[in-house]
């Protein structure tokens, strides 16, 4: 399940709903990863563009990898502006066993950072500045150059 929200995430509500959705699914391990906007580089917040069609197919391919190990993943992400100390990202894995869950959340979050079609902007003095230095070219980039 992939959820997109305008602005900041209501983290406690999402963590609670996901926990309750899977309460009887017989998973032994639930590991959410929550990403929160840090106060650094004098930013007022961050802003996100999301390209949904490719994000959905990327997410579905990970959901299939999870299913092959008896696990499932859920993810929530913000669109638009998210202010300091608010949260923009939750990814969670549910799995029967802890090793699968611990390895899966790590691999998922790292590939999310490298591949998910989301663009981040610093909010500074009311401007929206592409976070070029922290961004990663998707694998296979540059074929048109």
């Amino acid at each position: 399940m992939l959820e997109l929200y305008d602005g900041a995430l209501d983290v406690p509500a999402i963590l609670k709903r996901w926990y309750e959705e899977e309460a009887k699914s017989n998973y032994g391990a639930y590991i959410p990863f929550i990403g929160t906007i840090r106060d650094e580089d004098s930013i007022e917040g961050l802003s996100f563009d999301v390209y949904e069609p490719i994000l959905i197919s990327w997410f579905n391919s990970w959901q299939n990898k999870a299913k092959a190990k008896g696990a499932i993943i859920k993810m929530a992400h913000s669109k638009g502006d998210v202010m300091l100390h608010e949260s923009s990202y939750i990814a969670a894995v549910f799995s029967p066993k802890r090793r699968v869950a611990l390895e899966f959340i790590d691999a998922f979050v790292e590939d999310f950072k490298a591949s998910a079609p989301i663009w981040k902007y610093d909010l500074k003095h009311g401007e929206r500045i592409y976070a070029k230095d922290r961004s990663t070219a998707i694998q296979g980039s540059g074929i048109l150059s």
Binding site: D49, V109, S115, K120, R134, A137, G140, I143
Partner: protein, 73 residues
């Protein structure tokens, strides 16, 4: 017509081009100064599927997207 979209921070309006493959698109975009460095760092999707080479035929109604470097989370 093939529609070409520039995603995220690439500040450029979509194009509608009469092309039949990605090689033709590459030649057109390489001549577009407005794109600057973006071609080197952007991935390419055809009809929302990422492609890894220019060996890709295009037909009327197809959509090509350029995806610059990402940073979710």
């Amino acid at each position: 017509m093939v529609r070409v979209e520039f995603l995220g921070p690439i500040q450029k309006d979509p194009l509608a081009l009469e092309i039949t493959n990605l090689n033709e698109l590459a030649k057109i975009l390489q001549g577009d100064d407005e794109l600057g460095e973006w071609l080197k760092t952007s991935a390419v999707a055809v009809n929302d599927t990422l492609v890894s080479s220019l060996e890709c035929e295009l037909k009327d109604g197809d959509k090509v997207s350029l995806l610059p470097p990402v940073c979710g989370g």
